[in-house]
Symmetry: D2
Subunit: 337 residues, 4 copies
């Protein structure tokens, strides 16, 4: 249930306020150079601290426990831990009685019979996305081994498309700051350099696998590929991408890089919708499950005003490990690299 | 690759112009009443023949080969076949040289080395969605055993929300007919009666599993849950659903029935975008891979003007088997019913 | 539950007295020549009719429904059906009250709530091993594409080692005929031509996967690799296989071709124990579950005196599809051949 | 590849001389009491130090990193680490040139391109069986929650049946000590208290799953259920177990508790063969892969004279997690306990 992938298989574990969060990567080929430094850039990109993000800061130093020897992957499972050091569980005691609207508190309590670690969202916490980022770092290295020859590697880039409906993200963010509320956004991801043929006709279409992984990211409410929802308003003759040459390059790329569930050699392009962070500082009226009364409620703790700001690197990461798995499955990456 | 589900596991097979298409359902509990008649209503809903759909008509009589004895499921795998009777392969010979834009012809040829059965889209054909519908029939019966007691069963209803941007689907369709082109649409699905607790925190979130299955339906370009992409423009205080009572009922349902990847007891609501059918009668300019020249191309064959019209029952079906699997996994349905 | 394999994935279905039995093979590479004739030899080897086997004879003509086009696999799932033509269900009515000792009748009734198709053993019947043989034919072709160059293909050969404790199988069989009872036997399987490196350190050791598949064959009671149980009485210095040259060839082969769960390039050798057929013509004393009384019971029907005689080709088959899967996983066989 | 189980899913990781070895358990129900003390007894049973076992001693203190809160499982994945403290990697440098006979050194080097962590057997080391034991502890608690009511829990007991062919294990062991060699043995496992109905007809037969897990234990060369290999020499009328009463109790238990791949409510009984430890102190003649010459070789390091002595608790463990998974799958254990 907490695993994903058929060959390059990631398993996530940990809780926001437990000892650590972590990720296990099975099926990574042997011989891939991997060091703690490889994680720095992407983990920095995910980090809090910028305007609009939570003041909770974690050192986020990855501890590579297994699967790497002499600076290279061994072919055995790779385990990476991140210690939880900056936790304030006191912040969260109240939520037992008043499940936070938009959070998993209530459903977790029902699903796990009240035995769940509820502190800071426990296993549901966005804290665990640092583990996704870590898996993404390994997957990216596999997809684009450094130093990449010109044009040979696969590159994945995600960026904020809009915040609160504004393409100027500063403007969008300021709207939220002004009203002391949280705000949503849209993130776009592009993948360049993929071969033709990844994905399967039905259940394991490239879109199926990518969206499966993407909805593992907390706060995602939608995904669209290529023209996406706009395609619903188009005519076929507008939407079809004519094939331009024998490499499969198309004149337009409305399909977003996949037809029939299979990559077609053009850039993969997709967008995801991120809801506003549920932990808004605004007063909310919600149920106290102990008293049975509705009461006013305000999230104190330390939270992000706009979680979308921290999502791009996470989105790249899940995309990377989906594609790494497909590349291995399609034998485009060797079992030893 | 052609299978989906952990306990209630469906496997799809067949080609548009081969002997048959079919589905195998493993893990269905024993004791569920099942007859050929149970399939009639949903298969009729998917059928072509209405305005805007292909004139190719298939009898679509399900042949239950295995797993049913004395009118009830036995607990062994259920195999259901649909013979292909109305095939005209001659229509498709040309596509080898001129891969149809928007179709899988080109990528399939690259992926399978030219060995794929290309007739009528082969294994990629929308024809196979009749198999998804069949699996959905079984799953629906499992979710809502007849005769359902008042309010106890789980009901799944999908319907067209718009065609070509028009809520009046007749208007939308006429636009396409007028210009002799194909057109896209949006389909919405609602699920009522689910318990709290289906789905898992990360990779097997309810959204992950539903979207995984949904992107197995040909022509889907996007999916959004609850407020979906609109959430990206909302404030947290607007978006959060306050819990109203101890059953988990929320005052609003912006989340679309899931928080933290887990069903919360409210209606699941989601929408999908369907692109316009690629097989438009309009002239297109695309590559002849044999000559290397771009040439004019027009799809003859028999095709749907608006495939979205036939999607609702398919969408219900994939949703049904995802939920049947989760209900079994969460032990809300017994191994013998 | 009725599927096996990670890439080359087989799914079995059907019942002894239903319409058909069948197998679905997903993940078979495209481009493999495959015709009905390919199945003849192995299906003949499994067939009844020889001394010591059941007089029930089936035509056992494989019907390749999907996944093959123009005589070659397409990369889409392959479905193969075998019609059940020679069924006499009347033979089996009595068993509802008196579950046959050594058979699955009683446990199936408990597990499936009495809804199972009990005729002729239903889904538990040895009849379904014809499906395993069919999957094995495809796997063997993949492992050893004809015409094989000298020494390049992988060959799998299983044979009877003893019947009723007698290396002379005729003698062993006659013992059973003389006392009008059924008798067990031992079958040995050898695989030549495998590369080094198939299998994984722990859960997916080559032995784990082979034994998993082998215990899918009805009547198997044990399996041993290389020296097997005899190893328990050996000293380390006797048992160890010294490496002879840089290809990994060992001086002896006590390990049976695998160390640490990984193939070592030497022949795989293993043996399985087959119990005597449960359906003995001898009078047995067992429970009538309706009366609650113990009563005399004798199997009429048509049964094998020594099912071990028909096992070698089934054993080769399951071994073949395990190895085909590992060869694909280890990228020793391409996705297109 | 390093995971096993469908609901109760264990994933193993780590290397003999790396930072730690560990196990991740996904799908364990919430609410199960679990503390470090629960592990003491079984970990002690596996420990070295007794006559015939290696002088390498590890503290083997389990560190429960995740999935437990307030002394009970939370329903989130459980991660348990064991630090490697007593390592002497210097012992192992030589093996690069002279792969130890009977060990995975040579195949690992080929499979992982020389990138494997070869120190002390790396990921192949018997050291990792402490992780299997830990998973077994959790599974056992699930199968038999303390304090068990009389006769309600499931108990699993494995014991040495013979060492070097001697039922008196002291005698068997002394034989090896006398000749300064290692020696094999046979271990038997019994399971009491199981319900009828665990396991599936074909690929997921109870025997298939148990043997799959059992061959994950290093040094196992064979497994037999019930009468096992002796069944091959029996008549059907001898072998069949007559059903004695309506609970499914049989007069004899030659089947070892399973028919048709399904548990029948009687004790499960099976035996496994353990080969003599490959690391014998005796001089061996084997290849130096660097010089290409055969040379004399003697294992120094710290090793077990008879690894079979330490296997029973490991065998219980893997049996326990196979059965825990089946109990969850068959809904005999709840998702919250």
């Amino acid at each position: 249930m907490n695993s994903f992938g058929r060959i390059f298989r990631v398993s996530i574990f940990g809780e926001s306020h437990g000892e650590c969060v972590g990720i296990n990567i099975d099926g990574c080929p042997a011989g891939l150079p991997l060091s703690v430094e490889d994680f720095t850039a992407d983990i920095e990109r995910r980090k809090a601290g910028a305007k609009g993000t939570t003041p909770r800061k974690e050192a986020d130093l990855p501890r590579i426990m297994n699967g790497v020897y002499n600076g290279k992957t061994t072919g055995a499972p790779i385990t990476i831990l991140f210690d939880n050091t900056n936790t304030r569980s006191g912040d969260y005691e109240k939520q037992r009685a008043v499940p936070r609207p938009g959070h998993a508190d209530f459903v977790a309590s029902k699903k796990y019979g009240g035995f769940e670690d509820f502190r800071g969202g426990g296993h549901f916490s966005g804290r665990l996305t640092v583990c996704l980022v870590a898996a993404g770092v390994v997957a990216k290295k596999l997809l684009s081994p450094p130093p990449p020859e010109e044009g040979t590697g696969i590159t994945i880039n995600a960026s904020i498309l809009e915040i609160g409906g504004e393409a100027d993200t500063e403007v969008g963010l300021q709207k939220a700051i002004d009203v002391k509320d949280t705000i949503g956004g849209i993130v776009e991801c592009k993948v360049n350099g993929l071969p033709i043929g990844l994905g399967e006709p039905f259940f394991d279409s490239a879109e199926s696998l990518i969206s499966h992984a993407v909805f593992a990211i907390p706060a995602v409410r939608g995904i669209e590929f290529g023209t996406g929802f706009a395609a619903a308003r188009m005519f076929g003759s507008e939407h079809n991408d004519a094939i331009a040459d024998s490499t499969g390059k198309t004149v337009t790329n409305h399909a977003g890089g996949m037809v029939g569930g299979i990559t077609n050699g053009n850039d993969i392009i997709f967008r995801i919708a991120i809801k506003p962070t549920s932990s808004t500082p605004k007063i909310q009226h919600t149920l106290n499950v102990e008293t049975g009364e509705t009461e006013d409620f305000s999230v104190k703790g330390r939270h992000d005003l706009c979680i979308a700001l921290r999502v791009p690197v996470v989105l790249e990461a899940v995309t990377a490990f989906v594609l790494a798995d497909l590349m291995l499955l399609e034998q485009r990456v060797g079992r030893v690299v």
